[in-house]
Symmetry: C2
């Protein structure tokens, strides 16, 4: 079934546990591929180039923009973030579902470019929990933490552009919910308009 | 969570295995209630009044119409079929999901009356399989079989009003697919517009 993969955009305020969610989704569903973003921000401890992000210099990133190698890109907290085009196009065409972990502005851009994409917003179980997770990570400077809190607040303002909201209370439940969303989306009539022909039934045919 | 149950309409050509599907769905999900239709058609062997249908005389049925006790009703194959109102209203308000097994015209009516209902069309794995199942049931007269085949053909013409299509190939897979649809629908942002308030996060609040 060519070119019928589902493009699933996951966005979440920083510290919502999105990373673990994505890891479990990939482990549990072989049909899911993760789109790796390009960025000019500094790698965090343990992050691997080509796996967590493609880490680029500003010059390299700006060259990618110029060469139209990115589906979309944004700049925030003084860093560029962008989505390489080729991997997504080819994966969807091979029938893979592609997960895209991006921020709200990126998600809005993707929805314009791929109206059939599915946007999922991940929420923490509570506001207090979110603050605790952002502060508690302990890998960032205070001004970075403040910037991430402000960013989280801004992102919540975009929630209404998303198709689905999933509260990440118990991680395994959240994984199952996202898997249900993927299953259900693929059963939508609008994505299966040729279903009658596929099973050898046509309304115009004879009984 | 009052009045937030999901109204799920299942339609399927005769002989698609809808009955078994519904049975398994109810067994696997305690939150699902089945709306029992009223009809004036003759009970089939083994069918129980109040369980499979409320079997009514024409006079009784017409009185229900007059008293506005039915959400919707249709007449086909010379029989009335209708959906009693009270059970659905009260179940949805208690947070139960309600399954409604009705034909395509009934489904179209329900979608108008309950725009938030979810319409699922069940398909047999193949057209040949459908014919085999309708003919093979062996409980109906030839003219009834012919009428059901014609009815099935007509119903396929309505498929585009449905939100989802599920091919009932392996029954357990079909059950899981419908359960995924129910899970996903309840995660839609449009059904959760107060989600930020619920978890104590407001975009207008202070960080």
């Amino acid at each position: 079934m060519p070119c019928n993969g589902l493009l699933v955009v996951l966005s979440a305020p920083s510290g919502t546990g999105k990373g673990t969610l994505v890891k479990l989704l990939r482990e549990q569903d072989e049909n899911i591929r993760l789109s790796v973003s390009a960025t000019t921000r500094e790698p965090r401890k343990g992050e691997i180039d080509g796996c967590d992000y493609f880490f680029k210099t500003v010059e390299e990133f700006e060259r990618m923009i110029k060469n139209n190698e990115l589906i979309e890109w944004v700049k925030y907290c003084d860093n560029y973030y962008g989505t390489p085009r080729e991997f997504i196009d080819s994966s969807l065409c091979l029938g893979y579902d592609v997960l895209l972990e991006i921020d709200v502005e990126g998600a809005a851009n993707i929805k314009k470019l791929f109206p059939e994409s599915v946007l999922v917003f991940i929420l923490p179980p509570s506001f207090d929990e979110l603050k605790k997770r952002i502060v508690g990570r302990g890998t960032e400077k205070p001004e970075v933490i403040q910037m991430r809190l402000e960013q989280a607040k801004k992102e919540l303002g975009y929630i209404s552009i998303y198709d689905y909201v999933v509260v990440n209370d118990k991680i395994e439940d959240a994984v199952q919910k996202i898997r249900s969303i993927i299953t259900a989306e693929k059963l939508k009539y609008n994505r299966n308009k040729d279903i009658l022909a596929q099973i050898g039934m046509q309304t115009g045919g004879t009984f």
